[in-house]
């Protein structure tokens, strides 16, 4: 072949084309993939010494024991502590990803801290005109300062009570309800009737409930096929909002009274109501759990002899004696006169049951009330507050967790910081205490010392699984153990029955309205909605449809068609209290005429139990 430029080019071209028929370039593609695997867009995990640390989860009141796997001190995964007497080794989906909460994109980290401190101090001074050093202030007896605690029973709760006790007319408020002072003993129950309580879906301490599940028969009365309803031994499909009517029907059946009216109200037969009543008496001990605190459930527990057996008084760990002197009493929000609170401090840092804003707003003075919210989320009461103060989230903060509802014995455990809190966040109880001139920086230590001094119960340390009588642990060791992952559990106390509540009869069913043809049924816990949740929760809703995501509502296909809504479409949910935007999900398992909607603060604000509503496609 002549050595010309054309031939050289032909050779190069032919070689390139021929190479495509050899494995070489295709292997190069693999290598290219290998290089791109390490491109800067893919994050590199931390390296460091691997260790285990122990704490207790404070996301919800269950307070499950947690073992954190840490790399260089940074927690990278969480797991339950096997053999723990309260949480029984379990963690829920929120708890498993709890170490990611500090990095939640929607989390609040800034607020008007100085202005809020001034507002609290001014409000306290206005109610204490005689206090030394305060300016000439005017006290309005009917306009009070109050703290609303969504998770009572903590050491922080005692700090609030002490702080409000130091303010003339200061109020310490809780959500209240008959079950707020009660605990239940699932280990003693053989039949459990749930009036809409999500027993198998995060209620109580999930690990404990599931460990006891084999020992009791579960009857779930609910309008929709919730997770608990689908797994219960018996599901009673009742009309939305008719749980109080069912409870009063059962209470009547236990007294051999006619139940025809209640059968009509609930959509069940008289025979079904009588059968449930018979089962509660014949297969005892029985336990009746209300979904939304309803006094009727309380009455049935009393009738079937559950008081002192399956329902007992909730006891608190010992507190320093000095705290109990002059502290504000626990006052249920409902018992406060309307329009009487000028300054309301809401502690949403420890999430609990979200109280619809309408119920709180009524208690505030009409003109310019001051609402201060301690929260880490903009989604809850922050929407209604004048001042929003950011707080630390689990696992950044040191706090104690009161006993869960299914813990009949008093317990004391602490969530200890595994990572540092960002600058700018405040400790809510210390902040309030400081604003009224109280020092509460060492409250947890004082509480731990009081528990140790009482010298009863046992201390369980997680790292070694040891259980020691409290009396045998030195005070400093007791405090050290609590900070390294431990739990104090009281000895079996006297099984005192909680105080009886007045029974006021069945609640009213929502009236049918042609304008609002659907009934809204809230589903799943709002815990995740009022506090930051791990971004990984998309796995449970958007990426798998296992749960309804926030602001999503499910309709039966026929109901959706009648509303003109389509699957995945945007719509407006309207009730008599307001409107909010939702995304429609078409789901054949939802009964016709019902809108199953994920509970979030904005939805709870406009929907009560069984609220009438309509869906307007956008």
């Amino acid at each position: 072949m002549p050595d010309t430029r054309r031939n050289v080019l032909k050779f190069i071209g032919g070689a390139a084309a021929g190479a495509m028929f050899t494995p070489a370039p295709w292997r190069l593609i693999t290598d290219t993939a290998l290089w791109s695997e390490n491109w800067p867009g893919v994050p590199r995990p931390l390296r460091g010494e691997i260790s285990a640390r122990y704490t207790n989860c404070s996301i919800c009141p269950a307070g499950c024991a947690v073992r954190a796997r840490c790399v260089g001190g940074q927690p990278v995964s969480l797991a339950g502590v096997a053999g723990h007497p309260l949480s029984r080794g379990g963690l829920c989906a929120f708890g498993v990803a709890g170490h990611q909460l500090p990095y939640c994109p929607g989390r609040l980290t800034e607020g008007l801290v100085e202005a809020a401190a001034g507002a609290i101090a001014r409000a306290a001074a206005n109610c204490n005109p005689d206090a030394a050093g305060t300016p000439a202030a005017v006290c309005y007896p009917a306009e009070r300062v109050a703290v609303l605690d969504l998770r009572p029973g903590r050491t922080a709760s005692w700090t609030y009570r002490r702080a409000m006790g130091a303010v003339k007319g200061g109020l310490y408020l809780t959500a209240g309800g008959p079950f707020s002072g009660a605990a239940v003993d699932l280990a003693k129950a053989r039949t459990v009737l749930s009036l809409g309580a999500p027993v198998l879906d995060g209620w109580g301490t999930p690990g404990n409930v599931l460990a006891e599940r084999a020992h009791f028969r579960l009857i779930q009365a609910e309008a929709i096929e919730s997770r608990t309803a689908s797994l219960a031994d018996q599901w009673l499909r009742i009309r939305p909002g008719s749980a109080p009517a069912l409870a009063s029907g059962i209470a009547g059946a236990l007294k051999k009274a006619p139940v025809a009216d209640m059968a009509e109200a609930t959509g069940l037969t008289e025979q079904q109501i009588n059968d449930v009543a018979a089962e509660l008496t014949q297969h005892g001990p029985a336990l009746v759990l209300p979904g939304d605190d309803c006094l009727e459930a309380w009455a049935i527990n009393e009738q079937v002899g559950g008081f002192g057996v399956t329902v007992v008084a909730r006891t608190e760990p010992p507190v320093p004696e000095a705290w109990t002197k002059g502290c504000a009493p626990v006052t249920p929000l409902a018992s406060v006169a309307d329009g009487s609170i000028r300054t309301l401090i809401i502690d949403e840092s420890a999430s609990g049951d979200y109280i619809p804003w309408g119920g709180i707003r009524r208690k505030l003075v009409a003109d310019n009330p001051v609402v201060i919210a301690f929260t880490s989320s903009p989604a809850g009461y922050a929407r209604h507050s004048l001042f929003v103060l950011p707080t630390a989230v689990y696992p950044e903060t040191l706090e104690d967790i009161p006993g869960a509802i299914d813990s009949p014995r008093a317990a004391f455990r602490m969530a200890v910081p595994l990572v540092a809190a960002p600058a700018g966040v405040v400790n809510s109880s210390e902040f309030v205490a400081k604003a009224v001139g109280l020092d509460a920086a060492t409250a947890l230590r004082e509480r731990a010392d009081a528990i140790r001094k009482a010298a009863r119960g046992v201390l369980i340390t997680y790292a070694d699984g040891r259980s020691r009588p409290t009396a045998q642990v030195a005070p400093d060791d007791f405090w050290k153990a609590l900070n390294e992952g431990a739990c104090w559990i009281d000895t079996e106390a006297q099984r005192a029955a909680p105080p009886a509540a007045d029974w006021t009869g069945p609640g009213a069913r929502p009236a049918a309205s042609p304008r609002l043809p659907l009934v809204a049924v809230l589903t799943e816990s709002a815990t995740a909605a009022t506090a930051p949740a791990s971004p990984l929760m998309t796995k449970l809703d958007r990426e798998s449809n296992l749960r309804l995501g926030l602001r999503r509502a499910a309709l039966h296909p026929e109901t959706a068609r009648s509303c003109g809504a389509r699957d995945g479409g945007r719509a407006e949910l309207e009730t008599s209290l307001g409107k909010c935007r939702i995304e429609v999900v078409v789901d054949a398992s939802v009964p016709r005429g019902i809108l199953q909607v994920a509970a979030s603060p904005d939805v709870i604000d406009i929907c009560g139990a069984g609220a009438r509503c309509r869906v307007l496609p956008l």
Binding site: I29, T30, A33, L34, E37, G41, V42, P43, R44, P45, L46, R47, G48, V71, Q74, V76, S77, L78, A79, G80, R88, G89, L91, C92, A93, G95, V96, A97, P102, Y103, C104, P105, D201, G207, L210, R213, E225, R227, S230, L231, W235, R237, S534, P535, L536, M537, T538, K539, L540, R542, E543, S544, N545, L546, R547, A554, V586, D587, A588, S589
Partner: protein, 259 residues
Amino acid sequence: MISEKKPGKICRYGMAIDIDKCTGCGACMIACAVENNVPPGNPGATDLTGITWLRVFKVDNGEEYPRKESVYFPMMCQQCGMETPCYLVCPQQAVDVDPATGIVFQMPERCLGCRYCMAACPYHSRYFNWWDPKWPAGMEKTLNPDVAPRMRGVVEKCNYCHGRWHAARQRAAEAGLKDIIPGDYVPACVEACPAGAIQFGDLNDPASAPAKAAGDPESFRLLVSLGTEPKVYYHSKKEWARRIGDPSRAPAPKEPSRG
């Protein structure tokens, strides 16, 4: 190509899942994502394009109330023991079967993203990275150092937390042992399940839960008629639920429902 045999005990890891115990809480799904550095869903991700190595489905018997019954059904890679479809179709040898454990695993750095394996998998247990893996600022610190995050354009799937297996082998080696200390290696979903519904073990060990499940008449496997010999055994006392394993006998859903 099957990898060369490694020294030590030959295991055949499998799972036994009691679907009567599963409450569908999703703790296993989250634990799996945390352990394996699966990123949060992209804003555009749906149930078809999201990545859930382990997914819990809700299945019912097709009846109306009051005869309606439902179960929650955790589904992950079934770790086919024979004629592994994804392994057979991969043009890049990005799928391999570990002869020491029987675990089918994916090598994302070899993967071209052709998705033949996704088409071949009869269990729909493989997921494609449609987007760059992204975590909110700061959350990279919570990533598991034993598992490399995957890039956009590759397929991934459950590998029984292979990183944990390596860590357990390392611990055994440090202790001067040839084989893994019994109970030292369990996948994240098994550890996380608060109901104790998922159990893990060596099918070659007759005392293990999966081996016992293999001989239980109330246990079943999915699509066993395909001859893929899946190593995940499901257990239910409900006859209709056991029929899920055989689609020709399973009730057809009347209308779509969530979960």
